[in-house]
Amino acid sequence: MSSAGEHRIAGVGRLTPANPVRFTFDGKAYSGLQGDTIASALIASGVHLVGRSFKYHRPRGILSDGPEEPNALVGVRRDAARATPNVRATVQEIYDGLNAVSQNRWPSLSFDVGAVNDIASPLFSAGFYYKTFMWPKVAWEHVYEPFIRNAAGLGQAPTEPDPDHYAAQYAHCDVLVIGGGVAGLSAALAAAESGARVILCDERAAFGGALRFEAEARLDGKPGYDWAQDAAATLAAMDNVRILSRTTAFGYYAQNFVGLAERVTEHLAAPAADAPRERLWQVRAGRVIIAAGAIERHMVFANNDRPGIMLASAARTFLNHHGVAVGRKVGVYTANDSAYAAAIDLKKAGIDIPAIVDVRDNPQGSAIDEARAFGIRVLTGHAVTGTGGKLRVASMIVEPNKGGAAEIIPVDALIMSAGWTPSVHMFSQSRGKVAWDAATERFLPGTYAQDCVSIGACNGTDRLEESVSEAIAAGESAAKATRKRAKKSKVKIAVEGGGDWTGSMLGAGPNGANGKVIKAFVDFQNDVTAKDIRLAVQEGMHSIEHVKRFTTNGMATDQGKLSNLHGLAIAAEALGREIPKVGLTTFRAPYTPTTFGAIVGHARGELFDPARHTPMHESEVAAGAVFEDVGPWKRAWYYPRAGEDMHAAVNRECRTVREVAGMFDATTLGKIEVVGPDAAEFLNLIYTNPFLKLGVGRLRYGIMCREDGFIYDDGVVGRMAEDRFHVTTTTGGAPRVLQHMEDYLQTEFPHMKVWLTSTTEQWAVIAVQGPKAREIIEPFVEGIDLSNEAFPHMSVREGTFCGVPTRLFRMSFTGETGFEINVPADYGRQVWEKVYERGKSMGMCLYGTETMHVLRAEKGYIIVGQDTDGTVTPYDAGLGWAVGKNKTDFVGIRGLKRPDLVADGRRQLVGLKVKDGKTVLEEGAQIVADPNQPVPMKMIGWVSSSYWSENCGRPIALALVEGGFERMGRTLYVPMPDRAIEVEVTGTVFFDEEGGRING
């Protein structure tokens, strides 16, 4: 007996006994060999019971040896943060220290309380959810939903954040080959040797596909599997080939865009710290060669789900690759020749084969003859109609199809094959249409929708020799189609042997669907039986899409790789229609479950979304700023001093700006350089204001409308030269304003010689505002006369500031004397520090966006997007003065003349004075004329901006009110849950109504 399991047969298989691997399953220690999966290693130790089924909690074993596995799902746990549920035991390779646990059982795998569902199963038939969880309504919250949530899904998600990192990679190639079996390898060799750039991927750890179990095949005189390893090594050594193992092509999208998920470290005991756990490949291929192989189907008969019952090809892989016998006394039930090959291999390895039960009356072929020659009892025209055993199959019940005595044959494993289903998933995902081949009872690729080709078993090409020649031709022609100077490849592969199997069975075997409580499973993962599908048809589901949803057949995470065709055949039979008339459900991505980690890739933490910082950010951090998000920007919100809350800090900042001065980071405002001989003409069309006569060195506040006449953005525009303007936009509006301008330039005004360049980030912008602003900046400025006469409000000059070039703007968003210092961005921080150092000594403060908002509201300056909502015209906002009276055209001029936009009763921007003098209104609060009217009240407007104004000593608010300009001095009400707040309609300027301070 080997230390790597008592069912390991010495001298059989390809694994090396010198490489033992230790792991645990449900806390018990096991030993396997390097190259084992959890499944093969457990079977080597005689363990077949690995989980409980989803609905009935029936004991379940290992059904397959690959990604199609519906049953053997386990949890793999490295630590609390790295606990992965629903790992297929047939795919997960073991490593030293691997810790696997079974799922869906309590308290233990062999004794599970939930198994009561199995006994109560008549209650849980198809459509159970739809029928049961109907009424009473209150039961939803307390009974049904908790029940469904508890029962939904298998396994336990980790409770801690995923500490691993996931990589992403875009790749391009001439030819992408999906599947690294004999066909895929041959095609990749042919394409690569023709000179094409090739990517070859395979979901398994090693290449070779069916050559893992197909022991007889020889290629180029070598055993097939050895040839596959050599072919993979040849490809890996070529510069024009990228070869990816453990990589699943999970999604086929438009224009040959294919998603691949590579599992980089899931098989390693101690992954390198920097290695990504998975890598998502997004591949754009000239042509895709699909070599996805075929998937063996199970037989549908009563109690076909006991542990120890598995696919014949799986048993053969466990034997020929892993050196593991699936039992000592192995029964066979088949409708296909391939199970004979498995039986013969087991027999040769010394395993007892009590009988091959073949549902076909008179199967012919060398495999059958050979089985008889080995002395195996072959029962043709018989069926397995049931099995015995509890946690492991113990016997099979065999009956002649024509009737007669049943025989109970003791077995400890039962292998089966109902034939092979070509894997058309990827082809179907590419939007190709499958076609039914009646002779072989299978769907094959029919009409192609993209530049791809299917080869080998997934294309219905059965014979090895034909697969290889088809693959070479496909590889060469793909190279020729995608590459101008493709060479003729010299790939020639000599083929001997390989199975030539026929036979297929779709749907339930004899007696499989009779009787009330017979459970002949079609879909193992969702516990769907043949009877359920018949019931669905009886209850009126006539489309396969309805049958699927009613029974949940094929809706589990295995996407019905084994069950779809059986379910379809049973439904077709019950409906009395042919299979292609009933139709096939659509295959959708992902082919196998793909983790969120792989899809998210690098986009987490600081890489989830870019955070934009201004050049002065670090200085603001050092000054204790609290930041707010404005789009992707981090803007200083307010600068609290020790002991100050936000309210106190903002009050102090507001007061200081008006009494002394304040400094503000205005870098995030959008900036666009508009250059060209037609620049003034262009801006004259884009803005409502007149721009033709704006002098060089002058600024103008501009309003920009959409074609419909509503305000789109605003900002200050400076004329730097006859043909050059410095345009500013709102922070959030910067990208869309540039796009809006570019759009008009290219579509409406293409004759204009104007070019637009974003300069938002070229300039750091430092606003210094307040009575002492000039005095503060004066020592730093050279080349500009700062006197009020030479440099009045709303002008711009070029010179130097602290010795660096500046565009100095004399402007104000506070109503105070103000300057905005534009310097090249890399100088921003040093200039900020210099000005702050001097300003601080004179009593100046730093202020953030909150104070900026309050100060501008005190002056009634609007914020587009806060005091406008996309339905506000310049006239509504009280900015009619900004619309050029003599202009014959601008964007929005016709919109502004629409009847609705000039009608009475439009919402207009007004100020609100709260009568109690202390209540700060809630922004967004509705406004009514009569607070005593019945609910629902007629709303006549809403509060758009509202603050406590320390400078006014009272709350201030702006609001959009129907006919607001006509309501000046009237009393309106803001209804709140506890009371209605009385307000008076006022003008929008609350501070320094004469506006003298700005010119100080």
């Binding site: 990679q169 750039r197 990504p276 050049p615 920007w633």
Partner: protein, 182 residues
């Protein structure tokens, strides 16, 4: 009173470097940059002023000494001067209609070099960066993860990534993360 000061530039990626066996990521030195816009009839005059023939084919660049001109669109180029010659002054000599806007501080650049440079960029850039499709001298305005960049291949295994200043932290962090385990 004017304070006589010589201000230092504060560079957004000052001191950052990420280096591994197969790829190194570091900020490029400062450079003069101009966003140049001109129509077809101005190309030869502007080329003469710049001393570099403006490329007129997509994805191509031209270079003379420390000056590179990158084609970004049918009437748009990014000019990068890594030497001392005054870019705007040279352009000023061109007798033609064009727009030149100084973007020296708007953009910053990251140099990605080493045998795994292309793979590192392909973590977030969907373009085909094989030498065949993106040879030395190729350039393109494209994306890196969630941001826009201008990518310029200066040698077989050296790329220059130009991005806007405030996106450079993201760009650097993305590249450094993508470079892990290469």
């Amino acid at each position: 009173m004017v304070e006589a000061t010589t201000l230092q530039r504060t560079l957004p990626l000052e001191g950052r470097v990420s280096s591994g066996p197969r790829v190194t990521i570091r900020p490029a030195p400062t450079a003069q940059r101009v966003s140049l816009r001109a129509s077809a009839d101005a190309v030869s005059a502007v080329s003469k002023g710049l001393g570099v023939d403006l490329p007129i084919t997509p994805k191509q660049s031209a270079r003379a000494g420390a000056r590179a001109v990158l084609w970004l669109g049918p009437d748009e180029w990014l000019v990068i001067e890594e030497g001392e010659r005054d870019l705007l002054a040279d352009l000023g000599r061109a007798k033609a209609l064009y727009s030149a806007v100084d973007v020296s501080h708007r953009n910053t650049a990251i140099v990605v070099s080493g045998p795994a440079a292309a793979d590192t960029l392909n973590a977030g850039c969907p373009q085909d960066l094989s030498l065949e499709a993106f040879p030395v001298g190729a350039c393109s305005r494209t994306v890196l993860g969630k941001i826009e960049i201008v990518l310029y291949r200066t040698a077989e295994d050296v790329f220059r990534v130009e991005c806007w200043r405030s996106f450079s932290q993201y760009a650097f962090a993305f590249l450094a993360e993508a470079a892990r385990a290469r």
